[in-house]
Symmetry: C2
Subunit: 270 residues, 2 copies
C-alpha cells in the first residue's frame, strides 16, 4: 500500500522524468526548426547589442514555446527572442534557441540550443543541444549528466598551469574584465577560442578543464549549471559564488576540478 | 584516331583524376586513423613551439605516407610530423594530418586533415577533411572546388564593414602582426574566433567573407590555395601577392571577394 509520502515522491519522480522527456522533445523540435536554415542563404539582422539574430533563432524559440504552452501551460518562460511569460512562476523554462548565432551564420556547427528549467529560481534541468553534429548534453532534475545518452564526467587537473581552457571571444569581455581574464589566461596551460556553449559541454565530458567568460545572460548560463555540476564540475561567478538569477553579473567560471576553479578565481581577482 | 597532343591531354586528365581519387583515399585513411582517438584519453605532447601533438597526428601522417610510398613512390612528401622526403621533386605532397590539434585534444570536431599536391612548387590540388562531422572540401588539378561533393562558391561582399571574418586565435600573431590584425579587425563587420582550417572551407562555401592569419607554415596553407581559388576566391600574403613556397612569411589573407582581400591588405598595411 502506498503512503502519501511515497505517492508524493513517486509523483515528483514522474514529473521529473516527464520534464526530462519534455526537454528532449523541445530540443528535438528546435533542431528540426534550425537545420533547414543551416548553411542556407538567410537574412541576418543585428540586435541593439550588435549580436546577430536570424529567422532560425525566432522559429526555434517559437516552436519550443508552442510546446510549453501545450504541455506546461502554468510554467513560466523566459526566452532570448520573445521575452518573459510568467517569469515569477515557481517553475520557469529558460530558452536560448541558438547560442552562438555568429557561428551559426558562418556555417560552423558549434552553436547550441540551450534549455533550462528553474525551480524557485534555481536551474534543476539543462540541455545543450548541437543539432547538426548531434552532440547533446542533458542533466537533471537530480540526474547526472548524460552526453549522447552516456554518463559523462569532468576530469581532474593537477595544476592550473596544465589547464586547457575555452572562451568564445576576447571581445566578449568588458574592458576591466578583459584585463582580469588576461591574468587568468597567462596562468593556464592553453586557451582555445570560439565554441560558445559547446565548450561547457566539453568541460562536462572531461575534454576541457575550464571555461572563463563574462557578459553572460540568464539564458546563456542557466542550462549549463546542471550540466557542469551533474558531471562533477563546478560553476560559479568570478568570486567563486554560485550563479544566482537575481545577482549574477554575467561573469562565469566553469571547471572540472574545484581546485582549478578556485585558482582561476584567484587569478581573476589579483 | 588519336593525335599525340590528344593522347598527352588524355593522359594528363587521367593522371589528374587519379590524383584526386588518390587524395580522397589518403583523406579517408587519415580519418580512419584519427577517429578512434577523438574524445578518448590520450597522451598530449608539446612541441618546441608549444603546439600539442598526439599519437593521432603521427598515425594519420604515417598511413598517408605508406599509401604515397605505394602509389606515388617518385613523388616528394613534406609532412608536419615526419619531415621531408624528396622535397625537390617536381610533384610534392604536403601533409598536415591534424590542423587544429588544440581543437582535436579538446574534443571539438573542427580540426582538419590537409593534403596538398604541389607541381613545380605550386599547389594544384587540395583537400580539407573534417573526419568527425564529414565536411570535405576538394579542389584541383584544374577542377573547381567541391564541398561534400557539390560545387561551392564564395560569396560577394559589398563592403569591408559588412565582412564577417574568421581567425583561429589572437595569440597566433607575432606582436607586430597583431597590431596590424587589430586594424583590419576594426574595419570589418564581425570576427569569429577558433576554427583553424575549417574557416577557409567556410570562405570557399560562401559562409565567411575572409580569414586573416599569420604564422602559417607551408603544410598549413598549401591545401587551402586550390580550395579557396577554385571556389572563386583569392588567397594571398598580407601584401596581396600570391603565396609562394619559397617566399611566404606565413601571413595569409583568404577572401571570397577580391575587393575585400584588397581592403584587408590595405588595413593591415596602414
Amino acid at each position: 500500500m502506498m503512503t502519501l509520502a511515497m505517492k508524493a515522491a513517486t509523483e515528483t519522480a514522474a514529473m521529473a522524468t516527464d520534464d526530462l522527456a519534455l526537454a528532449q522533445r523541445l530540443a528535438d523540435a528546435a533542431g528540426a526548426a534550425i537545420r533547414p536554415w543551416f548553411r542556407r542563404p538567410f537574412l541576418v539582422e543585428t540586435k541593439a547589442d550588435f549580436s546577430p539574430v536570424t529567422a532560425a533563432d525566432r522559429e526555434a524559440e517559437a516552436v519550443i514555446r508552442r510546446l510549453l504552452d501545450e504541455y506546461r501551460p502554468h510554467d513560466g518562460v523566459i526566452g532570448e527572442e520573445y521575452g518573459d511569460d510568467r517569469p515569477d512562476a515557481a517553475r520557469v523554462w529558460v530558452l536560448d534557441p541558438i547560442d552562438g548565432t555568429r557561428a551559426f551564420v558562418a556555417g560552423r556547427p558549434l552553436f547550441g540550443t540551450l534549455i533550462a528549467l528553474l525551480e524557485d529560481g534555481k536551474p534543476v534541468l539543462g540541455i545543450i543541444d548541437q543539432c547538426i553534429i548531434g552532440d547533446r548534453w542533458l542533466a537533471g532534475p537530480g540526474q547526472p549528466t548524460l552526453f549522447n545518452g552516456q554518463r559523462c564526467h569532468v576530469r581532474r587537473c593537477p595544476q592550473l598551469a596544465e589547464a586547457r581552457i575555452g572562451t568564445t571571444s576576447p571581445h566578449a569581455f568588458p574592458e576591466a574584465d578583459f584585463a582580469a581574464f588576461e591574468r587568468a589566461r597567462g596562468a593556464v596551460g592553453d586557451t582555445l577560442y570560439g565554441g560558445d556553449c559547446h565548450n561547457y559541454g566539453l568541460v562536462a565530458a572531461g575534454h576541457l578543464d575550464a571555461v572563463v567568460e563574462a557578459g553572460l545572460k540568464l539564458h546563456d548560463w542557466a542550462a549549463l549549471v546542471p550540466i557542469v555540476t551533474g558531471a562533477g564540475g563546478v560553476m560559479s561567478d568570478w568570486q567563486g559564488q554560485p550563479l544566482d538569477m537575481a545577482r549574477s553579473d554575467g561573469r562565469v567560471i566553469a571547471a572540472g576540478d574545484a581546485a582549478v576553479a578556485a585558482a582561476i578565481a584567484a587569478a581573476l581577482a589579483d
